[in-house]
C-alpha cells in the first residue's frame, strides 16, 4: 500500500535523533508558551523563524509544527486554570473549563483536555496522511462564494454560542469584523481607519485585542468585586483523573469534536478556532443527560469537545498548506514563510518533489502528540499548584505576561498603549453585559470575509444571487439560516435563556 510506504518513509525521517530532538523542543516550547498567557504560537514561531535558517528544512518545520500543536495542549491549561485563552482556539474552553476549576474539578478538566487532544491529534494526523490527496479535490470546489457562506455559517454558530442577548452577540460580531478591517486594504492599498498612525496600517494585532479584552478586562472586573463574590478558584482539587461517569460523557464528545475538527481544519478560513466554536455549539445543542451539569457551569463535554476539535483541526489545517499552498490561518502563513526560507514552494508539488519532508512532517506529528501527552500528564500537577497562589500575587503576574506578550509580537510599545485602551473597552463590555468571544471571531474573519465577498461578486459581476445559486454555498447558508431559526424558535429560546440564567 502506498500509505504504508509513505508513512514508513516518514517515520524513517522523523525517528532520526536530530529530528526527534527538534520535535521535543517544539513540543516543550509549544506547551510552555501555550501555558503562558499573552504569548502565543504566532509570536513564538515568528520569533524563531530566523533561527531556523541554519537547520535542515525538515527539522525546522518539525519544530515549528510542534510549537503550534503543542500550544493547543498548553493553551487549554491556561484556559481552565486562569480563565484566559492561552490561545485563540481555547476561547471556548474557558467557558466550561474555568467553571470546572472553580468547582474544584480542574484535574478532570485538564485530563479531559489532554486525553481528548491526544486522541484528536492522532486521528487528525491519520486523516492528514490518508486523505490529503482526495480531500484537496473537495477544497478545490470551494470558490469565494462558498468561503463567504462558510464564514457566515461560522459566525452564526458563534452567535448561537454567545450567552445572553442574540442581538448584542450579532453586534459584537459586526464590531469584530469592523475592527478587523483596520489597516491597509490589500486590494487598493488604502490605509483604512488608521488615523495616520503608522503602526495601525498593519492592523490591530489579534493578541492586543485578546489580551486587552479577555486579560485586563477580566482582571479589572475581578478586582472590582468584593472578596466574597470574586471568582477565585479553590485549591481543593480532588483527583486528577476523570471519574467513570466523566469518561462516559466525554467520549462521545471527543469523537464528535475530533470528527468536526478534522473536517473544519481543512477548510481555509476555518481552522482550529472555528472548529472549537463549532464543536462547543454542537455539544450545547445535544440534550443534557439527567444529572449532568448545564453548559457554561462546568460541563466536561464543554472542555473535551472543543479541545479535541482544535487539536484535530490544527493537524488537518496542514492539509491546505501542504497540498494547495494556501495557508488556512495566520500560523500556517508563517509556515509558508518557513518553507520559502528553505527554497520550498508550498503547493501540490511538495508531496512529489520533497516526499521525505512531506511525510517526515506528518510522522513527526504523531510522535509529537505522544511526547505531549507524556509532557502534560505528569506536569499537570505543577500547573494545579498554581491554583493555590493567592489572586493578589497572581494578577500582577498576569498583567506582566500580557504586557510582555503584547510587546514581543512586534517589539513595539505602541501595542502596549493599544492594549491599555482595549483593557478599558473590555471592562466596558463586561459592565454592559456584552460577550466578547464573538467579537474575536469576527475580528479574525473580517479581512477574509471581505476578500471573498469581493472576489465572489467580481466573478458574478455584482450579482448577489451567486451565494444562493451555487449549490455548495446555498447549502452552507441554508444550514446557517436553520441554526438561526432554531435558536429563535420560542420554545428553544426560552430553554436557552434558562441555560444561561445562572451566569
Amino acid at each position: 500500500m502506498d500509505l504504508i510506504n509513505n508513512l514508513s518513509l516518514g517515520f524513517g525521517v522523523a525517528f532520526t535523533p536530530i529530528n526527534l530532538m527538534y520535535a521535543f523542543v517544539g513540543c516543550l516550547l509549544g506547551t510552555l508558551i501555550g501555558v503562558l498567557p499573552g504569548i502565543g504560537p504566532l509570536a513564538t514561531i515568528a520569533m524563531l523563524l530566523p533561527a531556523t535558517y541554519a537547520l535542515p528544512p525538515v527539522s525546522a518545520l518539525i519544530m515549528l509544527a510542534g510549537i503550534y500543536y503543542g500550544a493547543q495542549y498548553g493553551g487549554s491549561t491556561t484556559a481552565i486554570l486562569v480563565n484566559l485563552p492561552g490561545e485563540s482556539s481555547s476561547v471556548v474552553t474557558v467557558i466550561d473549563g474555568y467553571q470546572m476549576a472553580r468547582k474544584g474539578r480542574a484535574g478532570p478538566a485538564l485530563a479531559a483536555a489532554g486525553l481528548g487532544s491526544f486522541f484528536a491529534g492522532c486521528v487528525g494526523t491519520l486523516v492528514l496522511a490518508a486523505f490529503a490527496v482526495p480531500l484537496t479535490e473537495v477544497a478545490f470546489k470551494f470558490g469565494p462564494a462558498e468561503y463567504f457562506s462558510l464564514m457566515i455559517l461560522g459566525l452564526i454558530g458563534a452567535v448561537v454560542l454567545a450567552s445572553g442577548s442574540l442581538l448584542k452577540a450579532v453586534g459584537m460580531i459586526l464590531l469584530g469584523l469592523l475592527l478587523g478591517l483596520v489597516g491597509t486594504d490589500v486590494n487598493s492599498g488604502v490605509a483604512r481607519f488608521s488615523f495616520d498612525i503608522p503602526e495601525l496600517t498593519d492592523g490591530i494585532g489579534f493578541i492586543v485585542i485578546a489580551m486587552g479584552v479577555f486579560g485586563y478586562g477580566e482582571i479589572i472586573s475581578n478586582l472590582g468585586k468584593h472578596e466574597d463574590e470574586r471568582e477565585v478558584f479553590t485549591a481543593d482539587v480532588k483527583g486528577l483523573m476523570p471519574t467513570l461517569e466523566d469518561f462516559k460523557r466525554m467520549t462521545p464528545a471527543v469523537l464528535r469534536g475530533t470528527a468536526l475538527g478534522s473536517l473544519l481544519g481543512i477548510l481555509p478560513g476555518g481552522g482550529a478556532v472555528m472548529a472549537a466554536f463549532a464543536a462547543y455549539t454542537i455539544e450545547k445543542k445535544t440534550k443534557l443527560q439527567p444529572g449532568e451539569v448545564p453548559f457554561g457551569q462546568g460541563n466536561i463535554r464543554g472542555v473535551a469537545a472543543p479541545e479535541s476539535a482544535n487539536n484535530a483541526a490544527s493537524q488537518t489545517s496542514f492539509i491546505p498548506l501542504l497540498t494547495l499552498g494556501i495557508p488556512p490561518n495566520a500560523v500556517m502563513a508563517l509556515m509558508v514563510g518557513a518553507m520559502t526560507i528553505h527554497n520550498i514552494q508550498p503547493g501540490p508539488q511538495v508531496m512529489t518533489s520533497n516526499p521525505e519532508l512531506f511525510w517526515g512532517l506528518i510522522a513527526s506529528m504523531w510522535i509529537g502528540n505522544a511526547m505531549l501527552i507524556v509532557l502534560n500528564l505528569p506536569l499537570i500537577g505543577m500547573w494545579i499548584k498554581l491554583l493555590s497562589v493567592p489572586y493578589r500575587w497572581l494578577f500582577p503576574a498576569i498583567v506582566l505576561f500580557c504586557a510582555i506578550g503584547v510587546y514581543s509580537t512586534n517589539n513595539n510599545t505602541f501595542d502596549i498603549w493599544l492594549v491599555g485602551l482595549f483593557g478599558f473597552i473590555g471592562y466596558v463590555f463586561i459592565k454592559l453585559g456584552m460577550e466578547p468571544a464573538p467579537l474575536l471571531l469576527g475580528f479574525i474573519l473580517g479581512p477574509m470575509m471581505e476578500e471573498n465577498l469581493r472576489r465572489a461578486l467580481l466573478l458574478s459581476r455584482g450579482d448577489w444571487s451567486v451565494f444562493v445559486t451555487r449549490g455548495l454555498s446555498a447549502s452552507l447558508l441554508a444550514v446557517a439560516a436553520l441554526l438561526l431559526l432554531i435558536v429563535l424558535l420560542p420554545a428553544i429560546k426560552k430553554k436557552r435563556e434558562e441555560a444561561f440564567v445562572d451566569e
Binding site: 510552555l32 508558551i33 503562558l36 513564538t44 520569533m47 533561527a51 442581538l167 448584542k168 450579532v170 453586534g171 459586526l174 464590531l175 469584523l177 469592523l178 478591517l181 486594504d185 486590494n187 487598493s188 488604502v190 483604512r192 481607519f193 485586563y216 482582571i219 479589572i220 472586573s221 478586582l223 472590582g224 468585586k225 472578596e227 493578589r392 500575587w393 494578577f395 500582577p396 503576574a397 498583567v399 506582566l400 500580557c402 504586557a403 510582555i404 510587546y407 514581543s408 510599545t413 502596549i416 491599555g420 483593557g423 478599558f424 471592562y427 466596558v428 459592565k431 454592559l432 453585559g433 470575509m449 471581505e450 465577498l453 469581493r454 461578486l457 467580481l458 458574478s460 459581476r461 455584482g462
Partner: protein, 162 residues
C-alpha cells in the same frame, strides 16, 4: 421616558455610535460598486448594519420590561486606573518615549514598576510582599524571555548600557 434595561440601553447606544463612526469614516474611501468594491464598501455596509442593530437594541431596552432594570452597577475605578496605568507605565519604562525625552529603563525596571502599580489595584497592599513578588517575576521573566526565548528586549536602562 423610562429605561427598562440599563445595560442594553447603553450597549445599543455604543453600537450605534461606533457603527455611525465607521460608516462615516468609510465615506472617505471610494465605495465602488458591487462588482468592483472599493475600500469603503464593506465597512460602510457593516457600519450601517451595526448602527441599525444598535438602534433596535436601544429601542428594545426602552420597551421590554426586565425584572431588575439590568443596572450597570458601580464602576471599579481603582482597579481600572491602576491596572491600565501599570500597563502603560510598563510600556513607558521598557521602551522609553523619545517625544517627551523619557529614557528607556529596560525590562527589569519596568517589571518592578508594573508590579508595584498593579498591586495597588488589589484590596491588600503589603510593600514587602510586592517587592518579593516583583523580584521573583523579574528573575523568572529574565530567564524565560531573555535567556530561553531570546526575545529582543532592552533589559537594562539605556543610560547604563549605552
Amino acid at each position: 421616558m423610562n429605561i427598562k434595561s440599563q445595560k442594553d440601553f447603553f450597549s445599543g447606544l455604543l453600537f450605534t455610535a461606533v457603527g455611525v463612526a465607521f460608516a462615516w469614516g468609510a465615506t472617505k474611501y471610494s465605495l465602488g460598486t458591487g462588482a468592483r468594491m472599493g475600500p469603503g464598501y464593506f465597512p460602510m455596509m457593516l457600519g450601517v448594519l451595526m448602527a441599525i442593530l444598535g438602534a433596535v437594541i436601544t429601542f428594545k431596552a426602552l420597551v421590554v420590561e426586565t425584572e431588575d432594570g439590568d443596572k450597570v452597577g458601580a464602576w471599579a475605578w481603582k482597579p481600572l486606573v491602576f491596572i491600565i496605568a501599570a500597563n502603560l507605565l510598563f510600556g513607558l519604562m521598557l521602551g522609553g518615549l523619545p517625544s517627551i525625552k523619557f529614557p528607556a529603563f529596560g525590562l527589569i525596571a519596568a517589571i518592578y514598576a508594573l508590579t508595584l502599580v498593579a498591586a495597588l489595584a488589589g484590596e491588600e497592599f503589603k510593600i514587602k510582599e510586592v517587592l518579593v513578588l516583583a523580584t521573583i517575576l523579574a528573575i523568572m521573566s529574565y530567564l524565560a524571555f531573555i535567556v530561553l526565548l531570546k526575545l529582543q528586549f532592552p533589559v537594562w536602562p539605556a543610560f547604563i548600557t549605552g
